[in-house]
Symmetry: C2
Subunit: 141 residues, 2 copies
């Protein structure tokens, strides 16, 4: 049950938090959601949660380490449930498709670079932008 999960994080098991957790968990493939996306999904499920609360809860979840906030190009932040393994993103600027990858070589080089410049690395973000296969087909039209 989600309420136990929340309590373990030191968060009260409130209805908004439980519902938002459900939305995020059940998001499946399209699991890169903006706060607005989450808010709309809640409304569609008949839940009456304020947008401000969505922002607050997402921020708390981020601090609790169960989701990651990304700053893709073009304005708003998108959130993604962590499923243990870190990964980077490659996204299509035409259709918005997102794929995930993990490249040990790159990870390793990043650490080496941080060392070389005297930084203790806390985080990093890598986004590759491009046009996906599907969109390249269509664009010929």
């Amino acid at each position: 049950m989600d309420s136990q999960f929340l309590k373990k994080l030191g968060l009260k098991a409130t209805l908004p938090r439980i519902k938002i957790l459900e939305i995020l968990e059940s998001a499946g493939t399209a699991r890169h959601m903006s706060a607005e996306d989450v808010y709309k999904a809640l409304l569609e499920h008949g839940e009456d949660v304020g947008l401000a609360t969505v922002y607050r809860v997402l921020t708390q979840f981020e601090q609790a380490g169960i989701l990651t906030r990304h700053h893709f190009e073009g304005g708003q932040s998108v959130f993604e449930m962590d499923e243990g393994k870190h990964h980077d993103h490659i996204l299509c600027t035409r259709c918005g498709r997102v794929d995930e990858f993990l490249d040990p070589t790159i990870e390793e080089r990043q650490k080496a670079i941080a060392d070389k410049f005297g930084y203790s690395m806390t985080d990093h973000s890598l986004y590759i932008y491009g046009i996906c296969k599907e969109c390249r087909k269509t664009e010929k039209a």
Copy 2:
């Protein structure tokens, strides 16, 4: 002369554009500036340019390919004059220091990943976040 440079880009040599170009060119080390930064610099130089114009001009310069817009963490965009060579960034989340690097291995891996997922890569952004040497010294206090 900057006005010739602007004309070559297909842009009228207006006073605001010339002044903004000067600011950017003379920015030296701290050459990662937000629109607000540029605006303030203009005011300090006694130039009377509107903030809206700063945004417009920076966007035009970006489209003309003479500067790059970055989306660092935390809100606003920062702009940086292109000096030919592409590079990535490592930044200190404590003091805002920015260093630049280019790692051929990473560049290469990125291309390989794009290929593997069927994307034609158009762009990429890599930011490493950490605490720089100076800040680690101070933090002990």
